[in-house]
Symmetry: C2
Subunit: 598 residues, 2 copies
């Protein structure tokens, strides 16, 4: 059973040759982040991911998290692995130095995060949630909250959890009912039940810092009456030591399709005297703060998709090279060959590989923009980058996760009958991937965000700016006048045209025909991801063609880049026109049927 | 938790209004099979499927089949359910009357089979395998084998199993190593290990009749040296009573992603004195016989896909009607609505519904042709129908199962977070569906069969005949000159055109560029299924438009048919052109990369 290994060469390519790192290195606070330091960090992260996390992935799935009498035990080896994670400083990687973080740019931490998720997504979720909680406290918490919680959360000694969902309130947070009563001393007592709380209870750390959405007395109905609270598992004494157990209890954990080792808790707040909670920011602005975190978390879930896709590809590739079955198609010899020789197996592998590389490059483009938006000295640069980030987050989240499911499923298929046997490990990737299109906002929610807030609201301005960048790449492809680039240019051009039509349609009709447009929102998100991925692979092809022309001796790598981009163009980008048609013509068919006639 | 209910209205529609039953009723031996008898059978089958099999589906998945010391126990309730199955005569439904069967046409039994698989696919596999074994013995077995085994197998008192796969021989049966040594008395001793044997061991019946591929001494290498043997679990005495235990042992069963209640056995033949076996037909012709069974089994696996898709749809629809979340898009009221009101949920439901209905109609068209091919008095009618059956079996198998995975996955998505929780039941359908594209020949194997044996070999003749039928339907749509049919006609026309281009490409290039063509074989299979499904839904739309025009009062049903066909046209058929492009242009990209550069 092969272990995960980080795709370091491709990561280096994206960082250095797709010219992301040089944009980040010039930003304030990032001056020391050159190619060598980045490479050293990625190497170290790979050692931890492949050496510590990957070997726990299958055993963690088999054993799962276990609940007993309110306590949750993680699988064998997880406490030790998490202790190493904290000791090595991985949790602090992208946190601000003010509370002990290393302040590395998102571009680097995104790639490191991909490794955690590639090696062991059920483990990777824990620091992902902690990071979200850190961000909320950092951005809107009082000095008391920051000083009390952030140092231990940044180091990873305490973890965080995000408590949004209630049985009646999944995607619709307006329906949140948990309540918080002020105690007159600045603190609150929190009451209510939360479900689907990832790492809401576990044995990895001494304390867990829950961030909880609840309503204060007299709060307005709906989303404008939700406030955000810090509710620690153990209260923290003024000296920083842990005090009494708070009134929050893990009632049970879920029996899930995948991510078995990640405990998904039902938490009861305030069954006895009320759970002590502290307001983050102002009352009734909880949703706004949550959205800040959620955008970061949505990007991270996109990264989960990429990590799982990469892992599924590596496993399938190893199997396809190893498994000898059938003879070469059309050959006279009856000699058996490895199944990678069979055209359909190659097709599946390339479909996995090309999309994974496209998703990685796109996510890194967005991470780069996050760094610019956060750190650039120029206002307009920051705003411009933030607009790109806001536009692309639902695309990265929705498209990378939907693709990850399909890629993991292809991984099963390449294994044939062995793929269906759990011991092989291929099926786990499909089971694990299946949650990523659901949590932190389903694909439908991402698509609604994309067409409404991100495209219709600014009349497609941010989107058209991206289209212009895509057109520039198409022009470069055409100008090179090279046979290896021609099919890529053609398919990218068709994809861009389809995407432009779709965007114009949304801008023209969203206000007056919101149902009609929404009916095609997910096909549109797929279209956007598809074309954006093609744009990134086309950029990669330009670099590769140039390197080969300049006599770079790493011929295999650059040829593979060209071939991968061409495959993507001819097997995936060709879907663009159909998706655009579905959006622009298919809305009526979705709406026509009466509910009771389904 | 809702139970499965057979989609009786749609089944009636396919039987009677798509005019399949009237083709079958005129065949010899089917004269009594009118609409009333068919309806009565389907009603009874629904009672058993919904009342007996469906309640065992989730508990069977949770409990799973269990192995202990060579014996396998099925989950609680399965023995009783199987006894009822036998007592009610369900096993004998489509078997020949000569050995106790009821001789019903395949058209009827296909729909009944869909019900077993919709209610409980892990259960449905058992009679499916028995039927395959019956067919092999019926077609090529000696009188001794027929008389000894068929009466009990037809009744269902004994089950059958198919033993093809060995660890080194999955898709590639040429690699089979099991051997059979003649004993001089007409019997053989069989030695070897077989894996992935569905219901290879269980406690439902007193005996199991294994059909086993093995090589006799001196047999040629490869597929031309494989023979087929009957190897019963217990020997049968001349008086028909069970005798000694044969030397076949269940070494273990697999831990699988899905179909947990269906035991997947590793069987060791001949570890001691050799397993007693009896040759079926002639030596070295086993593969040929297996292919007869396999074609039937492939069709049945396609039906499994349809059954699971229907079940996943029913569950998702019930949830979408029940789950209240969010308010109506664009409405001023904040009143919460059932999620079926949300356009993207409707889109997913329609994607599930439209494909399931298309797959059912297509499978019934093929089942009808099977009946004609078997029973028609006219030679050329039989041959013509058989050519259609041969062409369409890989399409029904490959397309219905690939679609079933996607449909089951959409079912999970509609449930949101609840879909990922196993208790909900939605995830089980995805896990169960995931095997259907693998066993009885992977999708890649189906696609290779389709482009090679079924299209290139006859220069596309059978395929072009189907295209002509599709064109007739397109013409009818256009001639009606009705706005509700126009988008369906347009999309079908585009789909047919794309399919025609693809077929011409295959015919022109298969012999000289087999790798290139094979690289697009699975996209081509998807294209064929897509367009064939569109053809069937277009036929349904013609009927519906006519009924509505004639004032039929079942307005809701016929309007839904029209709307479903339109959705399929605008959301699914629009993919046809991209798939054709992938086949005709994308082969080079699949082949270009060196194996080691992946």
């Amino acid at each position: 059973m092969s272990e995960y290994h980080a795709p370091l060469r491709d990561m280096q390519f994206v960082l250095n040759e797709l010219e992301h790192l040089n944009q980040v290195s010039t930003l304030p606070g990032c001056e020391e982040i050159g190619a060598d330091l980045a490479a050293a960090i990625l190497d170290e992260a790979d050692k931890y991911a492949s050496g510590v996390l990957s070997p726990l992935n299958i055993s963690g799935d088999l054993q799962g998290a276990r609940w007993s009498d309110g306590a949750v035990s993680t699988p064998t080896g997880w406490k030790h692995a998490y202790a190493q994670f904290v000791a090595s400083g991985w949790n602090a990687l992208s946190c601000t130095p003010e509370f002990g973080g290393q302040g590395l740019p998102r571009l680097i931490s995104a790639l490191v995060e991909e490794m955690w998720n590639g090696a062991n997504v059920a483990f990777g979720l824990c620091p992902m949630l902690t990071r979200g909680a850190i961000e909320a406290i950092e951005l809107r918490g009082s000095d008391y909250l920051k000083e009390t919680y952030l140092p231990k959360m940044v180091s990873g000694e305490w973890t965080g959890s995000m408590n949004l969902t209630e049985p009646q309130a999944g995607s619709d947070l307006a329906a949140v009912r948990s309540r918080a009563e002020p105690q007159g001393d600045g603190s609150y007592r929190v009451y209510g039940q939360k479900i689907f709380i990832t790492y809401g209870e576990h044995d990895l750390t001494d304390n867990i810092v829950h961030l909880v959405l609840a309503r204060v007395p007299g709060a307005p109905d709906g989303v404008k009456g939700i406030s955000l609270f810090v509710v620690p598992k153990f209260l923290v004494n003024p000296d920083g030591c842990l005090g009494a157990r708070n009134d929050v209890r893990c009632v049970s954990i879920e029996h899930k399709l995948g991510i078995h080792a990640s405990p998904t808790a039902v938490l009861a707040f305030g069954d006895k005297e009320g759970a002590h909670g502290w307001l983050v920011g102002e009352e009734n602005r909880g949703l706004e703060y949550m959205f800040i975190m959620m955008n970061a978390a949505r990007f991270s879930v996109g990264i989960e998709g990429i990590g799982i896709a990469e892992r599924a590809y590596q496993r399938a590739l190893a199997y396809a090279r190893d498994r000898v079955q059938g003879s070469e198609l059309g050959a006279k010899s009856r000699n058996k060959v490895a199944i990678i020789r069979h055209p359909d197996v190659r097709r599946m592998l390339l479909s996995m590989k090309s999309r994974t590389e496209a998703m990685r490059a796109l996510a890194c483009a967005v991470a780069t923009a996050m760094d610019i938006a956060q750190r650039h000295t120029d206002d307009s640069q920051r705003q411009h980058s933030q607009a790109f980030v806001d536009l692309m987050i639902p695309v990265v989240k929705g498209w990378s996760t939907e693709s990850a499911i399909d890629i993991a499923s292809l991984g099963v298929q390449i294994h044939g009958g062995m793929g269906f046997i759990e011991e092989t490990g291929a099926a786990q990737h499909l089971r694990d991937a299946r949650i990523t299109t659901i949590y932190e906002g389903t694909t439908g929610i991402q698509a609604a965000d994309l067409i409404g807030r991100k495209i219709a609201r600014d009349q497609g301005q941010a989107a058209r700016h991206v289209m212009a960048q895509m057109r520039t790449v198409e022009d470069s492809l055409l100008r090179r006048n090279d046979a290896s680039l021609a099919p890529i240019a053609r398919a990218l051009g068709q994809g861009i045209k389809a995407l432009e039509q779709a965007i114009s349609y949304i801008v023209a009709h969203y206000d007056t025909q919101v149902h009609q447009v929404s009916a095609g929102s997910v096909p549109f998100l797929e279209l956007f991801g598809l074309v954006a991925g093609g744009w990134q692979l086309a950029r990669a092809a330009l670099v590769a063609q140039q390197q080969l022309g300049a006599g770079n001796t790493e011929v295999a790598f650059y040829q593979a880049k060209l071939q991968t981009a061409r495959f993507y163009a001819e097997h995936l980008l060709v879907r663009a026109e159909g998706l655009a048609q579905t959006l622009t013509q298919g809305g009526g068919a979705v709406l026509a049927m009466d509910d009771e006639h389904f």
